[in-house]
Amino acid sequence: MALPKHTELHYRIWHYFYLTICGAVFFFLIAPLFVIFPLSFNAEEFLSFSDGMKSLDPDAFSLRWYKDMIYGTKNPWGLAAKNSFIIAIFATIGSVLLGTVAALGLSSRHMPYKGIIMAILISPMIVPLIISGVAIFFFMAKAGLAATHTGIVLAHIILGTPFVVITVTATLSGFDHSVTRAAASLGSNPVNTFMKITLPLILPGVISGGLFAFVTSFDEVVVVLFLAGLENTTIPIQMWTGLREQLSPTILAVATCLIILSTLILVTAELLRRRSERLRGINR
């Protein structure tokens, strides 16, 4: 954003002021994440930069907290990670299946009562989590599914489907329905048409919806707090307990791992979005 040569001084000042503000906001957004990285390698037990770290003394850094995360006595992270992944994977599969099929129906121009149905399907995303948590807890308690993996997976399917519905309907909005008609006129049955024509075209939307569902489940703590027993502990639950009781550097090691995971998910989601836009012929 170079300014033209003839720009007057006060506009120049204003322009740099504006850039400084933007820089500050970007810093505010991203800097907190980067504090965690170095501190998770702290050799000491404190959660601030030691003098050794400030002078980049190699002895001030260690992998101590990562070792503690993996090998520590009584450590809950192994079980939590296992549970988190199992729950998130099943919740993602459920959300993607239900959400994609529903999105196909919603995108049809024949769909009756589209507005109200869409509002219901999206509501778990809008309703505050604490209320969803209370309601889902009442249901799961009655159904005998409290403190089971099944119950948590079902709860996360509820919370995850709106994201799939939104991303897939968005992908379908640019979808050229004449290709499916062409397939049908060439003798393909609806299932075959869906698998061979529709699905490959909307796949980026489906996958990015799936990523949202995965992250929602993997990161979800409010509803799980109501539902989980000791056996069903997840990473967010362990972090929540840890943050409430005592902020230990081990949590920072876990947090660093989670940041790396979210970076990978971000990159995947971005690549998918661009691919989807290219496929749908949207040039930006």
């Binding site: 504090v35 959660l47 149905i117 509501s123």
Partner: protein
């Protein structure tokens, strides 16, 4: 003409109009069947349970079921003078049954909610009633304690007769029904819920405002920069968006604590003395700072997607027609971004008003919101009907905003990432 068009037949000999309607209906059913599994699933596991919350929040069957004969006898009582012997006898019979089932403690707790002073007189009645003689229960009960001869206590019992009550909703607004059935507020120093509601609104409002003020410039920068720079900067917005909420809250806890990084920095540059480090966490400040950073991406993304569609030539045209950049911005650019502002602000506000995790961790006592109170009653006091009532009060507020959002933005226009 019209009679002729009706004559058009398909190859099967059915009028075209009928055949088309049939096809239309078939398509409708097909579309609906695709949505049905998810809709059914959500209705069973989500919509009904919210209805269940409503039932629980007004449910007051406990006392009704404990004193069935008493309430039946009380139907004829006008509620002014002390009730007749009949009511006392019914009450005695109900009470003996409760004592046999060891449930009189529950009754005393419940009645004590309605009027203070029931606990001790019920205890006394339990002891004395073992030796009651048959007949003339009115005299015998009134002799146990002078409060049993006080009509106010019998009125209090009668107030618990209906099986449904709005009492939990009143309690959520720090109000209650007094002896005369009037709705009054509790004493000034006990109005904890009103403070929480107001604080929730205040924090949600200011967090939304801060998000807007911070998001507007950077969304504008992202939308006007060339692609290769803006993609890089976009990562600064998207990475926090995809990062675990607990990780982001943890990082604020590290930054803001008294021995934390921000305080170290302030001491380092000599802004504050080492022994006078300000409390930036476990109070409102902590909630404001952390929630603003966490919700900022939800404001940036809708603003960005709107600003991206505004052609830069509009601003140039505004300037070439004699407007200063400020006038051109205010008269041309800003009005065009209003849909994005509306979407972003409503989304932020909805999310902020129901926030639970971050205030619970960094908010301390003065920075917690209504959600924390709901969780407290769900997990600690186990007053689930009160938690349900407050949840539904919050929900109705959110639904109003949701409805507005739907009107302004359209729910299918939510964009993610």
């Amino acid at each position: 003409m019209s009679s002729e068009t009706k004559q058009i037949l398909t190859t099967d000999g059915i009028p075209l109009e009928v055949s088309l309607k049939k096809a239309e209906r078939r398509n409708k059913i097909k579309a609906f069947l695709l949505v049905a599994p998810l809709l059914l699933f959500l209705i069973i596991t989500y919509v009904f349970p919210i209805g269940d919350m409503l039932m629980r929040s007004v449910d007051d069957k406990m006392v009704t079921e404990m004193l069935p004969k008493t309430f039946k006898a009380m139907e004829k009582w006008d509620g002014k003078e002390l009730p007749e012997e009949e009511v006392f006898e019914a009450f005695y019979l109900d009470f003996r049954k409760l004592v046999d089932e060891k449930r009189e403690g529950k009754l005393s707790t419940q009645l004590n909610y309605t009027k203070n002073g029931f606990k001790s007189i019920i205890k006394k009645l339990r002891r004395k009633s073992k030796n009651f003689e048959e007949g003339n229960y009115k005299e015998q009960i009134m002799a146990v304690h002078k409060r049993w001869a006080d009509v106010e206590y019998w009125k209090a019992i009668k107030r618990r007769a209906p099986a449904i009550t709005g009492q939990k909703y009143l309690k959520g607004m720090d109000m209650y029904k007094n002896e005369n059935g009037e709705i009054v507020s509790v004493e000034e120093d006990r109005r904890i819920h009103r403070i929480l509601w107001l604080r929730t609104l205040e924090i949600a409002f200011f967090v939304t405002l801060f998000c807007f003020l911070m998001a507007y410039p950077i969304a504008h920068l992202l939308a006007t920069l060339p692609m290769k720079y803006s993609n890089l900067l976009m990562i600064c917005v998207l990475l926090p968006f995809w990062t675990s909420l607990l990780v982001r809250t943890a990082s604020w806890m590290i930054l803001l604590q008294q021995q934390g990084v921000v305080n170290d920095f302030f001491v380092g540059i000599g802004l504050v003395a080492d022994d006078a480090r300000p409390e930036m966490m476990y109070n409102k400040t902590g909630t404001y700072v952390a929630m603003t950073q966490i919700l900022l991406p939800f404001m940036v993304l809708p603003l960005y997607s709107v600003m991206k569609t505004i052609s830069p030539s509009l601003m140039r045209a505004g300037k070439s027609l004699g407007g200063t950049p400020i006038v051109a911005f205010w008269k041309v650019y800003f009005p065009l971004t209003i849909p994005g502002i509306g979407a972003g602000c409503l989304l932020c506000f909805i999310l902020a008003i129901g926030y639970y995790i971050t205030p619970a961790l960094v908010g301390g006592a003065s920075g917690t919101l209504i959600s924390n109170q709901i969780a407290f009653h769900m997990k600690s006091t186990l007053d689930w009907s009160f938690a349900s009532a407050m949840g539904l009060m919050l929900l109705s507020g959110v639904l109003v905003i949701y409805w507005v959002y739907n009107k302004i933005v359209g729910i299918d226009n939510i964009k993610l990432g």
